[in-house]
Amino acid sequence: MKQRYEARLAEWEEEKKKAREDFRRELESERQRHLNAIRQELDEERRKAEVVWEQEKSEWRRHTEEQALLLGVAFCARMLSRLADEHLHHRLVTLFLEDLRQLSGEEKESLRRNSTGAELRGWSAYPLGEEERLSLSRTLESLLGRPVELSIQVDPDLIAGIRLHLGAYVIRANLHDELEFFSHG
């Protein structure tokens, strides 16, 4: 009986050992599974954080560049408003007239088609002299192939140069619009 009891005890010990081993293995595999899941989750979180960090960096870069451009334009506008004078204005008008005369036949045709009516409106940073006005009228008449009546108002916001409305187009040759182009395209 004692022998049987001891054999049973040994068997029981064996069973316990086996059960403990199974339990340890199960625990280990469960631990591994959870660790893998956590690792995967962490990887995902890391990837997310990297993407968000990159996005924030590029957003700030973009914002800073925009601000820098606007500040650059503001600086130029202030500087030019002091520097610009009638001389620069007349130089711009002269350039404008030269460029208008050099338009190709196709370009002239398109402007003719899309600017009807005799009266043309325009704005100038400084008042145009009689000679300048005459020259502008002649150039436009030759460009559009018909007599025109110019109505030019003074707008100091242009800093220097002129802006002209020609039917379906507006022609800009002034510093204000150049600065706009610089900052916004």
Binding site: Q55, W60, R62, E65, S110
Partner: protein, 473 residues
């Protein structure tokens, strides 16, 4: 009409370009400037100019602008703004977004070269805005470092991930039987006055402490409704994580049309930065009416019920932007709760069926249930969540697994008992359980409940803890 490309020949005295190219959002400002300066030469700059022919009902007809494209933003000489909505042979139809008192026929119009965008960022939390990002709450304009276009393509399939996290609404019926996942689009549908907005507001209120940012879009609502919604959200502390976008009933139709896109763009920004968001569109029926009004005014060909042919696309492209992003795209999510109104419970109407087919499920609110005192008046049989089950917590799923089916069987059984039929004990027990469940499912407005509470009552119900209780007749 002139072809502006004809002015781009080399050696020409004029330069064309300013205002002709749409600004691309992805190019850096310095890079864009470098490209512009590459071929720069001081020369007269030629730009197209249009003239307003006619104005009225929130739209403008413009002569000229031959290079105008759809959705181009237009700047008027007087400071007004509009967006191109229809292109004709000789004229352009535009919807007004901002209108000054000086805007009249004959005003000059230019293309701005930009697409419509809205400021986005954390500065918008707690704010009330119009669809252009202008504040309506009397505070200073929000200072944001980023802007997003209102209309952007939805994320491609490879940028998306599975919907696998739950979004709890706090409503017993929804969280247990019609679950919603983060990134899902769940339609709230029903007649007027059945509690669709109340359910949406409850869901927003329940997001407190859930790490979800909310955007509530009010489209074509009366000012009293707007004020009442805002008051409720403020009183319940929901404005700490919510932005409200308002296109009021008396606002320009263009703003009502743009309101859902603006709300979506705001949420999209947060989603791209890894945040979970919830957008409520209240409601898309009014949005469809506005779109129809604009389309008819701009003489687009009318289709079924006078809606334009692309009405389905309008809503599908809006709701397709709601998704759960993959981790390498930021990993955020945008859950959408569009609301649609039915007439006399008719769910086979045009806009309703469109939205049912676009969304991932619908919660149907029934006027008869509402009148009988069952609130929220959700018709469990007609409501469905196609993907929410995947996102449901396994314990809730286990407990609520058969509940919907059992409840529907009870409702059928209950019909027979009205004829006074004698029931065997098992049937009577089923009937009793159903009646108890019906009482449990009733929930007051503005009383969203945590998910732990739902699990508790589910376990208690499944263990028949309430079986001795007699529900009121």
């Amino acid at each position: 009409m002139a072809d502006p490309s004809s002015h781009q020949g080399k050696g020409s005295g004029l330069s064309v370009g300013a205002g002709f190219e749409r600004t691309r959002g992805s190019t850096s400002p310095l890079e864009a400037l470098r490209l512009r300066l590459d071929g720069y030469r001081l020369a007269p700059r030629l730009q197209e100019q249009g003239t307003v022919l006619a104005l009225g009902d929130g739209i403008a007809w413009i002569e000229g602008l031959p290079s105008a494209a759809m959705d181009d933003l237009l700047d008027f000489e007087d400071g007004s703004r509009a967006m191109v909505f229809a292109l004709g042979k000789t004229r352009v139809g535009a919807i007004l977004l901002e209108e000054t008192e000086y805007l009249t026929a004959g005003t000059a119009v230019h293309r701005s070269g930009r697409l419509l965008s809205i400021p986005v960022g954390d500065a918008l939390i707690g704010r009330v805005l119009d669809p252009l990002g202008n504040p309506l709450d009397g505070l200073d304009p929000p200072v944001c470092t980023a802007r997003l276009p209102l209309d952007t393509p939805s994320p491609p399939i490879i940028a998306r991930d599975f919907v696998n996290a739950p979004l709890y609404s706090g409503c017993k019926i929804v969280d247990t039987m019609i679950p919603i996942g983060r990134g899902q689009r769940q339609l709230l549908i029903g007649d007027e006055g059945t509690g669709r907005s109340a359910l949406a507001i409850d869901t927003v209120i329940h997001q407190q402490g859930q790490n979800v940012l909310c955007v509530y879009v009010l489209i074509g609502q009366k000012r009293s409704t707007v004020v009442s919604t805002l008051e409720t959200l403020r009183r319940e502390g929901a404005m700490d994580y919510t932005t409200v976008v308002v296109g009021e009933a008396f606002a320009l139709p263009g703003l009502k049309y743009l309101a859902p896109m603006a709300g979506c763009a705001i949420a999209e920004y947060w989603m791209q930065r890894g945040r979970d968001t919830l957008v409520v569109y209240d409601d898309l029926s009014t949005h469809a009416y506005t779109y129809r009004e604009l389309s008819l005014l701009l003489r687009r060909p009318p289709g079924r019920e006078a809606y334009p042919g692309d009405i389905f696309y309008l809503h599908s492209r809006l709701l397709e932007r709601s998704t759960r992003l993959a981790a390498d795209q930021g990993g955020g999510s945008m859950t959408a709760l569009p609301i649609v109104e039915t007439q006399q419970g008719e769910i086979a109407a045009y806009i309703t069926t469109n939205l049912i087919s676009i969304t991932d499920g619908q919660i149907y609110l029934d006027s008869r249930l509402f009148a009988s005192g069952f609130r929220p008046a959700i018709d469990i049989g007609r409501s469905v969540s196609r993907i929410g089950g995947k996102a449901q917590h396994p314990r809730i799923k286990e407990e609520a697994g058969r509940m919907k089916l059992d409840y529907l069987q009870f409702l059928e059984l209950e019909v027979f008992t009205r004829f006074g039929a004698r029931l065997e004990e098992s049937m009577a027990r089923k009937l009793k359980r159903g009646k108890v469940l019906r009482e449990i499912l009733k929930q007051d407005r503005l009383h969203p409940l945590p998910i732990e509470f739902h699990l508790a009552w589910l376990i208690a119900f499944n263990k028949d803890c309430w079986i001795r209780w007699n529900p009121p007749r």
